[in-house]
């Protein structure tokens, strides 16, 4: 009988204790973060979508070689004499036209290994992480600043130069050995 009454009391008492706990929680501010409206501050060294500052890129291909999944595609064309490509922000002279600089974010594993070798620090992580797409193709980001015509033009220019050089070489080879070679002075 005593145990029975004790059980009853325990039942009621513990329910009341539980109820006070939940009632207190009714007034505890919610921990929910309403994501698209409110955002958590990202950690300092977060790794998200890459960005390439093409003004500084010298087309050295180091990032592409460092990438473990080969998702960076770079094509470059040498500049012809007389063209001024400008300098990077840390004073390096640019010598290559970057005709193609594609990063496929569908493949990228955000390891950040491409960031460190860059000599001009022009490839880096941004804080953008919401860039889902319906088509996988849309995840290939093209960073090259040259338009396709321009890129084609640069190629043609370079090929022309190449051809001229070949022609000069051929001409030089055809001449008698007595005359000293003269072409380095022009270049």
């Amino acid at each position: 009988m005593k145990a029975y009454l004790k059980n009853t009391w325990l039942g009621i008492y513990t329910v009341l204790v539980g109820m006070t706990v939940t009632f207190k929680h009714l007034f505890v501010p919610a921990v929910t973060i309403q994501y698209p409206d409110e955002r958590l501050k990202l950690p300092e060294r977060e790794r998200n979508r890459l960005y390439v500052n093409m003004d500084d890129c010298i087309g050295c291909d180091q990032c592409s070689r460092a990438c473990p999944v080969s998702c960076i595609e770079i094509e470059t064309v040498k500049s012809v004499p007389g063209e001024d490509l400008g300098t990077t922000s840390n004073g390096k002279k640019k010598a290559l036209w970057v005709t193609k600089f594609n990063i496929d974010f569908a493949k990228c594993c955000y390891c950040q290994l491409c960031v460190f070798p860059c000599p001009t620090e022009c490839i880096y992580m941004t804080d953008v992480f919401e860039f889902s797409e319906y088509e996988r193709g849309n995840l290939v980001y093209k960073f090259a600043t040259l338009t396709e015509e321009e890129a084609a033009q640069k190629k043609v220019n370079y090929e022309k130069l190449q051809a001229e050089k070949e022609a000069q070489k051929a001409a030089a080879a055809a001449k008698p050995k007595t005359e000293p070679p003269s072409h380095p002075a022009t270049n």
Partner: protein
């Protein structure tokens, strides 16, 4: 109620329509607000926010859900017993809805002032068991059947303590009519049955502890009758998918939800009528003080709804506090604890009311 609206509008058809539609509107509103409140209360008790996107603080969520349910295709498996399967949701709602006919929202707003109000309410809520069994059996699904069996066992067991407590109140007040019961507990809170009812003397003070016990018993057992947590084993999500309405979808599913929330309000209303003065205000009426007597029924309706909602809130509160009981625990709570206490309580209240 009919007479009241007839005096107000002077038209037979309009007053009849109001009388017929009012409880239905009330049930729908209860469901609408109840489900929203349930989400918000549960969310805030768990330090979340609940629905926030649809409308201001998610207020339109329920309407969105309702439209979604309406659009759902009505899928029934081929092995169901078609007749019973289709009747069950209608019947379960009828059971929940019929109780509203006898509930006095205020001294003027009673669907029907039948003399055996409380008896009628107990009787029609028995209909719910039948329809739940129907739903569980006809669905031809073992989860449904298990849920229905549990539900039947539970509701029938818990009807006994409920009835015993109601009986003790009936002995005290000497009436079965819900309207009269509320009327007896006149407009101040010390006249409520939980504080010994109207009238002064030794009996009133002797009654108080037993009334509190009675209230606790009836609150627990009505909780079980509406299948609310911690007594939600018939529809235990983690064990039985959804219990007896596993096989239902779309509007038929909505009917079950509708009847659940309708029932919640009905039992809260019954508890408040039995112990907390029904529609009576705890502090007297503004209408009496200001001498505007037409205000009184509205005030009463306000107090009644407030009490009803308070008990619904407590049900939700309990739901998010307590874990679900096991079947054997459920039965031992009912048969070993509630029923003996209810019996002793009944006898003691009987003796005191003889004094």
């Amino acid at each position: 109620m009919y007479q009241y609206f007839y005096d107000l509008t002077g038209n037979v058809i309009i007053s009849g329509l109001i009388v017929a539609i009012f409880p239905l509107v009330n049930v729908l509103l209860v469901v609408l607000i109840g489900v929203y409140l349930e989400r918000k209360v549960s969310a805030h008790m768990q330090d979340r926010l609940g629905p926030m996107r649809t409308g201001w603080h998610g207020t339109l969520q329920l309407i969105a859900d309702f439209v979604k349910l309406l659009q759902k295709e009505d899928i029934a498996s081929t092995e169901t017993d078609k007749g019973l399967y289709n009747i069950a949701p209608v019947l379960v709602f009828t059971g929940a809805f019929a109780a509203y006919a006898a509930i006095p929202f205020s001294s003027k707003l009673i669907g029907s002032e039948i003399e055996v109000g409380i008896f009628y309410v107990i009787a029609v809520s028995g209909l719910v068991v039948v329809s739940i069994l129907m739903a569980g059996w006809s669905a031809n699904n073992k989860y449904s059947l298990l849920g229905a069996m549990r539900s039947a066992a539970q509701i029938i067991s818990y009807e006994i303590p409920t009835a015993l407590v109601i009986l003790s109140i009936v002995m005290l007040t000497g009436t079965l009519s819900l309207g009269k019961m509320s009327e007896l507990q006149t407009a101040y809170f010390w006249n409520w049955n939980i504080l010994g009812g109207a009238g002064f003397g030794l009996a009133k003070f002797l009654l108080i502890p037993f009334m509190v016990v009675g209230f606790i018993i009836i609150y627990i057992s009505t909780l079980a009758e509406t299948n609310r947590t911690p007594f939600d084993i018939p529809e235990a999500e983690s064990e039985l998918v959804a219990g007896y309405f596993t096989e239902y979808c779309g509007m038929k599913y909505a009917m079950f939800m509708l009847s659940e929330y309708g029932n919640m309000f009905a039992v809260s209303a019954i508890v408040s009528i039995l112990f907390f003065g029904g529609y009576q205000s705890p502090f007297g009426y503004l209408g009496n003080t200001l001498n505007v007597h037409w205000l009184i029924p509205y005030e009463q309706a306000f107090w009644f709804l407030l009490k009803g909602w308070f008990f619904i809130f407590v049900q939700m509160w309990l739901r998010w506090t307590l874990p679900r009981l096991r079947v054997d625990q459920l039965m031992s709570v009912c048969w070993k604890y509630l029923i003996p206490y209810a019996f002793v309580n009944l006898i003691i209240i009987g003796i005191i009311s003889l004094l």
